[in-house]
Subunit: 477 residues, 2 copies
């Protein structure tokens, strides 16, 4: 028999079970957001009303060949921003690639003084030193911050592309960026730099245009998306596409799938951070109670643990839950749902093994030079791979490593920085080693490899100025 | 310029972008399921029509005190099954605890010959040898397979409890199980055995009833849910509760939130398995195409990679995606959504540190013995903890380890097997070490600790008969 409860003082406000059924603020939030959006008939979500004064737009009026379609994209826009000064020789250009949902606004500019997503890394004297470099960052093809994507108007129909937009690849994004570079008269990059999906683009740039890329920086990326990462992105797309507002992607005349976006962002946030950080930051700390929910101070004090005085609910109890809730809430109207679907799919599809590259409808730029039109380009021949002298082959190489090395052969002569984080669960440290091993196996003798500790997981590239910034600065100098 | 596409043969069935907008089988599946359920007006989901002939039911007509409420549960049922023969001394009983969504059907019985969820581990000569032991397994309190839970009828109203059901804890589940043992005249367990959530129950049994538990087996469990695990379960609850069919839990008169359940199960599956297994099992293999989708064999062969001949879609392309889709689909009508919410919440709340235990409305059974009614029970005093002679303290103990050791003091004299799996991302190996360290710090000199390699992650306990079964068998003998 358990009798302790009989000795407890009674609360002045009795706790009834029925309180559970009457209060689901975490669910009500969706309906409230829906009502708010419906009432605000005018303003569209921020992504639907970008401010073209805050970035520049390059319009490419010609077709762009696509990796997975025989029909090219008829034309496209690319939004971009720049920092620093282009040298007269145009030889100081860094092309900066973004992660999945970022805009071209990597750092503040006179036209847009708001801090950018890599504010601490870009500027005079910073890791990417704008006293030395001319930095170009674009919103990717498929995005929603000024570049052409599913939320753009299809010139052929005058309507939003929606899910009539073609599947685009990481390579297609990079090809679009190089059309912009062409328009700026930039023939060769000093470096191609990117983190997360940006690291995929950074490697893809070296594959597509080996003669136009001086150095490559790949931070927390991969050359071949893993099934675990595909699984996490599939889960996000699934919750998004199940939102009744999604309507097979044709939601632009109505309300966006804001609930699905919130749920997807919650899942994404789990993959961006790591357990060790949350242990330190949140542990089992309870969420802060609003005054209306505080227990009567005359009869009990708020417990630091769930208890009869502070009974748990089916909605968030712990700080980790309110953190995820907040991350989802603050993102769900900032980004276009279809862009999330298309770009996360492009990440899933990214695979630099030779057979996967051979299946694409695009080829490295060297293949279109007059000298090689009749022959298969060298990169598409099975490449004789061997490890560089200073780096013996790994002890337990994944079985696809030789195919990856063969696929990455065009990058054999581009000095490359590969940096990964041991607590990253999305782009694991094994994948970082794989990139470095494949490059070395392809004969690249200039691979710098760093592996960081720390608790921040995948998001380390946004946070760790000292170590990430330091490695970049050293490699670029 | 990229010209390769011009040389490709044209497919006889031209690939148009519009195919994307017309075909979302992964989304249509939700609407089709909804229609099917609506048409099948009669049959309810399987959990709503259990077969009481296949298990026994214990009805407890008295109130059960609850951890987080001053109001007890007025009465309850517990469904259970047994294997083996109860010895005349009733000293050969193993209480087997389940994971989150399992029924009492751990192994086949004459009344229900279908294989159980631990079929390979229970039986004559098996790891849990029914020639020797009398095994009892229950459906947990809060479940939907015959035990009282949110889908049960509240006797006070004649209606489904739904979300008027009180929050239950792992300790409440175990207390309900011990009422069943009381009814069977079983005073002391030979062992309390469980994996995953069952491991939490197994430890909770030792805390609540130290004098009634002979040995404890804790496999891939924890004594204190981590913020990462809470995050993964929060994501599942969030997608479930956002399903319009959920209706704040009052869906029993209508259709269940089957879409939310499918999405939640997809997320759960990611936490149950592991990256290394998926690398081996799926890699980047594409899903099998139904005949209707196969490319025309006269013009192209199906590529093993996404390509213009086999263009990717926004729905699943990879086998890992169809695997997750299938896992969700096959589960979404088998289990009650509210049970999933309540039981996953109970897991989140589980915390055996002393301050968390002191906040509960329940106490270990020794506290109700006549000798201790006036004094706080020993377990609730801060306990002087020290490491056992044979096990020095860990090098980098988590800061809460002394509080955990103090909370687990009642288990100091119960021989305990702690087994974990290095590839488990839900109940990490660090948490397994924490359980063993806390027990040893509490003075327990009989802690057996095993750490398994292998690629199966959290689900190892369902699969690895050789290693998991072997450790259990050795420990119980």
């Amino acid at each position: 028999m358990i009798t302790a409860s009989l000795r407890r003082p009674r609360l002045s406000r009795p706790l009834r079970w029925s309180r559970l059924s009457s209060s689901f603020p975490c669910v009500d939030a969706h309906a409230q957001r829906e009502s708010r959006l419906r009432a605000d008939s005018g303003p569209e979500p921020p992504y639907a009303r970008p401010n073209p004064a805050s970035y520049r737009t390059y319009h490419h009026p010609h077709p762009l060949p696509l990796s997975y379609s025989l029909t090219p994209l008829p034309s496209f826009d690319i939004a971009y921003e720049t920092w620093g000064t282009l040298s007269p020789q145009k030889d100081n250009v860094i092309l900066l690639h973004t992660g999945l949902s970022a805009s071209s606004h990597a750092a503040s500019t006179p036209a847009n003084p708001a801090p950018g997503w890599w504010e601490k890394f870009i500027g005079p004297g910073k890791a990417i030193d704008t006293n030395q470099f001319f930095v170009v960052c674009t919103n990717v093809l498929g995005g929603c911050y000024g570049s052409t994507g599913p939320s753009s108007i299809d010139p052929a129909t005058g309507k939003h592309w929606a899910t009539r937009f073609p599947i685009v690849s990481i390579f297609d994004m990079v090809n679009a960026q190089f059309r912009l570079l062409d328009s700026l008269g930039i023939n060769k990059l000093y470096a191609s730099v990117g983190s997360s999906m940006g690291a995929m683009q950074s490697l893809a740039a070296g594959w597509l245009h080996p003669e136009r890329v001086g150095k490559i920086v790949s931070i927390s990326g991969t050359a071949r998306s893993s099934p675990s990462a595909v699984a996490m992105r599939f889960a996000q797309r699934s919750v998004l596409m199940a939102d009744p507002n999604w309507k097979n992607g044709f939601y632009y005349e109505g309300l966006p799938p804001h609930t699905g976006m919130k749920l997807a962002r919650q899942i994404a946030t789990i993959t961006y951070r790591s357990g060790p950080e949350w242990d330190l930051r949140f542990g089992r700390q309870l969420r802060a109670l609003p005054e209306s929910e505080l227990p009567n101070p005359s009869t009990s004090t708020s417990s630091p643990h769930p208890s009869p005085a502070r009974p748990p609910a089916l909605c968030p109890d712990f700080s980790i839950e309110t953190y995820l809730d907040h991350q989802g809430e603050s993102f769900c109207l900032k980004y276009d749902a279809n862009s999330l679907i298309y770009i996360s799919k492009a990440m899933d599809l990214f695979d630099m093994t030779l057979p996967a590259l051979q299946a694409l409808n695009i080829k490295p730029s060297s293949s279109s030079s007059p000298a090689s039109t009749d022959a298969e380009p060298a990169a598409l021949q099975p490449h004789k791979t061997s490890h560089s002298k200073s780096h013996p082959p790994p002890v337990n190489p994944p079985p696809h490593l030789p195919e990856l090395a063969a696929g990455m052969a065009p990058l054999a002569y581009i000095p490359t920085l590969v940096l990964g984080v041991q607590s990253d669960i999305l782009f694991t440290v094994e994948q970082q080693r794989e990139v470095a091993d494949a490059l070395r196996m392809a004969g690249n003798e200039n691979v710098s490899y760093y592996e960081l500790g720390g608790v921040w997981g995948h998001d380390t590239f946004l946070i760790d100025v000292l170590n990430v910034g330091g490695a970049i600065r050293g490699f670029l100098s």
